[in-house]
């Protein structure tokens, strides 16, 4: 099954990417996955251009195709100013609005302190609910101190198991379909001539 990770970490190495990798590895222990990682940092300029010119450049288009074709998604963002980062949100702003419909998504976030952990519930979960994704019940937040404490590994395992269980149910991308014209016209109550 195809698992796509979207990481909005900015530094190299990044604790956001580290959390994303841990989550992906945990999913891989539950079900065989074909993994693809989308690093938004590398797409930052193309994402900005998508806003100004209305279409995705090659790298961004490839990332969008990967996301649209995934059986499951892991999305991880650093917390910026009490929410997801602008880059993270921008990637989903320029994604097709139906691309995530019905798709299982595991949400994660990182921050300097645990005081921001509810960003997952107050910012990320509503965003993905709006996009009609199926967000797994366990969201994983990693503060700096979590990397040296107990508990994070268990949360990662639980969230990964939840995502792995939902991935076989992901809708398969259908070909572009359109309502046959006569049907479309009939819905308006007019005869086709």
């Amino acid at each position: 099954m195809k698992l796509v990770v979207v990481s909005a970490g900015l530094s190299v190495p990044s604790s956001t990417r580290l959390l994303a990798d841990r989550l992906a590895a945990a999913v891989g222990r539950h079900t065989p996955v074909d993994l693809e990682v989308v690093e938004l940092r590398e797409l930052a300029v193309e994402i900005a251009h998508n806003f100004t010119n209305g279409f995705a450049g090659r790298g961004l288009a490839a990332a969008q195709d990967a996301v649209a074709g995934a059986d499951g998604l892991i999305v991880v963002t650093p917390v910026f100013s009490a929410s997801y980062s602008g880059l993270f949100k921008s990637f989903f702003d320029v994604l097709d609005k139906d691309a995530l419909a019905g798709k299982p998504v595991l949400i994660g976030a990182t921050g300097g302190t645990g005081r921001h952990s509810l960003v997952l519930e107050h910012a990320l979960r509503p965003l993905f609910a709006y996009l009609r994704a199926v967000v797994v019940p366990t969201a994983v937040y990693a503060a700096s101190e979590d990397w040296g404490a107990e508990g994070l590994a268990e949360r990662i395992e639980r969230a990964a198991a939840e995502l792995a269980a939902l991935m076989p149910l992901a809708p398969r991308g259908a070909e572009e379909t359109v309502v046959p014209f006569a049907e479309q016209l009939a819905r308006l109550g007019g005869p086709a001539r």
């Binding site: 010119n53 450049g57 007019g190 001539r193």
Partner: protein, 362 residues
Amino acid sequence: MQFGIFTVGDVTPDPTTGRTPTERERIKAMVAIASKAEEVGLDVFATGEHHNPPFVPSSPTTMLGYIAARTENLILSTSTTLITTNDPVKIAEDYAMLQHLADGRVDLMMGRGNTGPVYPWFGQDIREGINLAIENYALLRRLWREDVVDWEGKFRTPLQGFTSTPRPLDGVPPFVWHGSIRSPEIAEQAAYYGDGFFHNNIFWPADHTKRMVEFYRKRYAHYGHGTPEQAIVGLGGQVFMRRNSQDAVREFRPYFDNAPVYGHGPSLEDFTEQTPLTVGSPQQVIEKTLSFREYAGDYQRQLFLMDHAGLPLKTVLEQLDMLGEEVVPVLREEFAKGRPADVPEAPTHQSLLAGAEKEVVA
């Protein structure tokens, strides 16, 4: 194959001088550009229809009627006519009138407009955009084809015993193209009626245009109008030329960088690489335009955007000289090579009239 130009009619400051033309200057410039198009041997002039600044062409048939009086051969068209928010009765009347004045040198391209508020400004609901395009066009077709129409629909007051006047010239309605960038429903509509499909193309990567055109061709054949290769396809293009390609890039860059729509975004280099925009020598324009056939198949109409982003009239007229004298003759010759004999030309009033007469005889 037909070659021409389409204009958005934007009033944009020239970024190199800071001067903004007056509306009068811009409107007169559009007329001068259309006259030049005829002079240099182009086939089509199409004007946009907009109802918001910084655009001037809110009244296309007024402008096209004036141009019709000053030209002999040019086909006058639109890019696009708002089938969503105009009353289809008024479209039927206005363009039939234009047909008579222009001796049949008229076709139209249907579209849905470039700005959301145009719907409420004209008393419509943007969420019904596709449905408006479908219902209004179905009525427009009847108004042109049936002398007396009884009609009832969802969006307009009913008609009883209505006759749209004048009747289309020679009883032949203008040929219609449907323009859409991303809505397969519109490609489906074009295919259903056997109408033309125009992809604006200019702000989009080739693979996107290819998917839409392929879909239209497939559905055109599905509805029994011919083979997919015989479907009637038009494409946009956008060029800026100088003899020496470095000069073209240097001169066009400030216009590109400050253009409405894509200005302040990607670099000129990225944009020319990813979209049909060509900034360079006439030879480069020829090569790029010929490459459209690789993804769109043999097609019928190529329109170029030449006069936006504040380019001065003098420059635009120079561009049209080059387009008409150096580029289009080569394109005509090259596009004709290897073009299957059963791929039709774009319908014109004469060809539609001949077809109708043949039908009567048979």
